[in-house]
């Protein structure tokens, strides 16, 4: 019996159409739009002016505070303007628009493909390099990685958990990265283990990626302290708290961080970026993006520069199908519908999913039939039906009592509801409002 997390969960159709597709390097776009807010925390401060010449990997926006990251130019060329563009949130946000001229990289970046196994950097150097390289959680949450690696005083990290779960249906970018860059990921893991001063790392991989489990197990034999943990296929296993539960059987208490149980979780994509930053001096300016969907001609995994318009990725995957109903940034469970194809790739873009009209359309909401399916699938042990009602009626104190802030917005409740009720829509609204109330209270 394979391990999994203890509470709730669902198993949607996997639809991994792009599995096994080699990572293709996408052509460098003629123009990129690099958003300054690509991570959780304060937006980076623009460090270039209109007309400036930039090189690939040059810092174009600097971190504003501790919970923020640097942003590097993904292309070489001239800064056209600093303007606002519509991003995945559907609102206009500040972005640096760069016109591509050639492909000249910063001199200190090692562009060779050779594997550098030896880790010479000290733990402080590693964290500094990760901070400078602007690395964020590439699973989609985009939390600055250096913040996670800075273990607060008095706490001790005992185990590093790597997230190779990719529990979202359709997406295959992490899977393919493990297949092609397994060795690099393992060196990256070693780097993080050194930075965190731990001697144990677990890579959690769901059992629908048997080839990746096999390959990583084989490779990990020559790396001390790294073990591979095959996991039962269950959504949302990629959630930080769910993965910790599945791998080491410990539950993170409500409102606390994983370090409370001695764990630090990083995504495999992030670890690959760490490898590149520390061993090759390469900052984060490109990532693997899955472009997929039922009617997509050529579901693919692309390595794309940050700032590439998603229309270019869609064209490279065979163009926009005629029956398109929705274009989703991310996976089908937690992703967000996008309003235009001009939206650029960001550090958090794990995939672009093109849904045909008939599947994308939401069914009309009906009355709650008190079946409690939402309660049984909630991985956080909440009562989604109740949270929806209290959010709808604006009973914020009750929502807080019912632990609305613990919701990880995985969408299992909305997915499973036989009455197609917009449970998560209301819970997310409530979570936003209650979060604001709590912040106001603590700031007082």
């Amino acid at each position: 019996m394979l391990k999994t997390f203890s509470l709730g969960g669902v198993h949607p159709e996997e639809n991994k159409f792009s599995a096994g597709q080699k990572i293709e390097t996408l052509e460098i776009p003629e123009q990129v739009s690099v958003l300054v807010a690509q991570h959780i925390g304060g937006p980076a401060e623009v460090a270039v002016d209109k007309g400036d010449q930039v090189k690939v990997g040059q810092i174009i926006a600097t971190a504003a505070g501790f919970v923020s990251t640097n942003i590097h130019s993904p292309v070489s060329g001239t800064v056209l303007k600093i303007d606002t563009i519509i991003d995945a949130s559907g609102y206009r946000k500040k972005a640096i628009i760069i016109k591509t001229e050639g492909d000249e990289w910063e001199a200190n970046i090692d562009r060779s493909e050779t594997l550098v196994k030896e880790i010479t950097a000290t733990p402080q150097e590693i964290i500094r390099k990760i901070t400078n390289a602007g690395i964020v959680g590439l699973g989609g949450a985009t939390f600055p990685s250096h913040v996670k690696l800075s273990v607060p005083p008095g706490k001790k990290c005992e185990v590093l958990i790597l997230n190779g779960v990719e529990c979202e249906p359709y997406l295959t970018s992490d899977h393919q990265l493990m297949m092609e860059k397994g060795e690099e990921i393992l060196v990256g893991t070693k780097i993080l283990m050194k930075a965190l001063n731990v001697d144990k790392a677990i890579i959690g991989i769901e059992n629908n990626k048997k080839d990746a489990i096999e390959k990583m197990s084989e490779l990990s034999k020559s790396y001390d302290g790294i073990s591979i943990q095959p996991l039962k296929v269950q959504y949302p296993q990629g959630g930080e708290k769910q993965l910790i539960d599945a791998c080491i059987g410990k539950q993170v208490p409500s409102g606390k961080l994983p370090i409370e149980v001695g764990a630090v979780v990083q995504n495999t994509g992030t670890v690959f970026a760490v490898y590149e930053a520390v061993q090759k001096n390469k900052p984060l300016f490109e990532r693997v993006v899955t472009v997929t969907g039922k009617s997509v001609k050529k579901p693919s995994n692309f390595k794309a520069r940050i700032g590439t318009p998603i229309s270019q990725l869609i064209d490279a995957a065979g163009g926009l199908p005629e029956d398109t109903g929705k274009i989703i940034g991310g996976g089908p469970m937690m992703g967000k519908a996008l309003t235009t194809t001009d939206i650029p790739v960001t550090k958090g873009s794990s995939g672009i999913l093109i849904m045909p009209e008939e599947i994308a359309k939401r069914k009309p909401s009906q009355n709650c039939i008190r079946c409690a399916k939402c309660v049984s699938v909630c991985p956080m042990g909440l009562s989604p039906y109740l949270l929806m009602t209290v959010s709808e009626k604006s009973v914020w104190d009750r929502a807080e009592e019912e632990k609305i802030m613990d919701c990880i917005e995985c969408g299992s409740c909305s997915f499973t509801c036989p009455s197609s009720r917009p449970l998560l829509d209301y819970i997310r609204l409530g979570k936003g409002t209650v979060g604001q109330i709590i912040r106001n209270r603590t700031n007082k």
């Binding site: 606002t84 559907g90 206009r92 967000k336 309003t339 939401r362 917009p422 829509d425 609204l429």
Partner: protein
């Protein structure tokens, strides 16, 4: 017979004893409540809408009785009439607040603001606003799902199917501010009613640059500042790419309205403008 009289006597003495105890307890734990609170509450409209900023009319009455200076307290529903009645009960002075009304700072009708995408999530403005900018290119304008109409207790609002925007029925609006609080885009404003109920205001809240705003909506304020230059009283400022008319300094001359290239300045309840030729003719007659 005996049993009956014993019963009566016992019950009667129990009753008397209880009454005496209750009397002393009542004396001991007496809560003094100003009788004027009841009197004031009587003259308040009993709408319990919260427009005054207090939870219901009773709480407002208590606040009126308690406060020494009631000039900053106002019941928007009852208006000057109610306030002067309440003030006369309390023997306090009240300044008549200028009557106000809610206005919508968006004129993005279906025609002027084409739909670019289709929203099929939960039917709620605040949820849509938490997800994205809206179905049109303007991320500041009305989302059109009528959360303000649901919030109105006075039947003063309805959704106009043709324009897709809420309409405020002036005669019913008490300017309690429930719609202002309900709107996630914050595009409803409580504004001075103006002389003879006449108002002039910028019906746009789009903070994007002129070109972007114009592309999204043909009746958007494009921050060209023409109105600001036309205003002889300095009542108009352009702040964050939107023009604003200050109702305190505006003299209702309407010189700004024809200047606006997009028609973003709206007038309410003015008589139709006379053409210049007609004026000359009038004089000749």
């Amino acid at each position: 017979m005996n049993v009956i009289s014993i019963t009566i006597i016992t019950l009667a003495s129990l009753g008397v004893a209880a009454a005496i105890i209750l009397y002393f307890v009542a004396q001991k734990f007496k809560v003094f409540e100003d009788p004027r609170i009841d009197e004031v509450e009587e003259v308040l409209p009993a709408a319990n809408c919260g427009g005054c900023g207090f939870p219901g009319c009773r709480a407002f009455a208590e606040a009126l009785v308690k406060a020494d200076d009631i000039s900053d307290l106002n019941c928007p529903v009852g208006g000057a009439d109610t306030m002067s009645k309440a003030a006369s009960i309390l023997g306090k002075k009240v300044q008549a607040a200028a009557p106000t009304v809610a206005v919508l700072k968006c004129n993005g009708t279906c025609e002027s603001r084409p739909r670019l995408n289709h929203y099929d999530g939960a039917e709620s403005c605040s949820i849509a606003a938490s997800l994205y900018g809206g179905e049109t290119g303007c991320s500041y304008g009305c989302l059109g799902m009528g959360e303000c109409v649901d919030a109105c207790q006075f039947n003063a609002m309805y959704m106009d199917k043709e324009t897709g925007l809420p309409v405020i029925k002036e005669e019913n609006c008490v300017s309690c501010g429930a719609c202002v609080a309900a709107c996630p885009k914050k595009i409803i404003e409580i504004r001075k009613q103006g002389p003879k109920n006449r108002r002039i205001y910028v019906a746009c809240a789009n903070k994007d640059k002129g070109g972007v705003a114009k592309k999204a909506c043909s009746s958007a304020c494009i921050a060209c500042s023409k109105c600001m230059k036309a205003c002889p009283f300095g009542a108009i400022i352009v702040h964050q790419n939107v023009a604003q008319i200050n109702p305190e300094t505006c003299r209702y001359c309407r010189k700004c309205t024809p200047e606006c290239p997009t028609g973003a300045i709206l007038e309410a309840n003015f008589p139709p403008k006379k053409e210049k030729k007609e004026l000359v003719k009038d004089k000749a007659e």
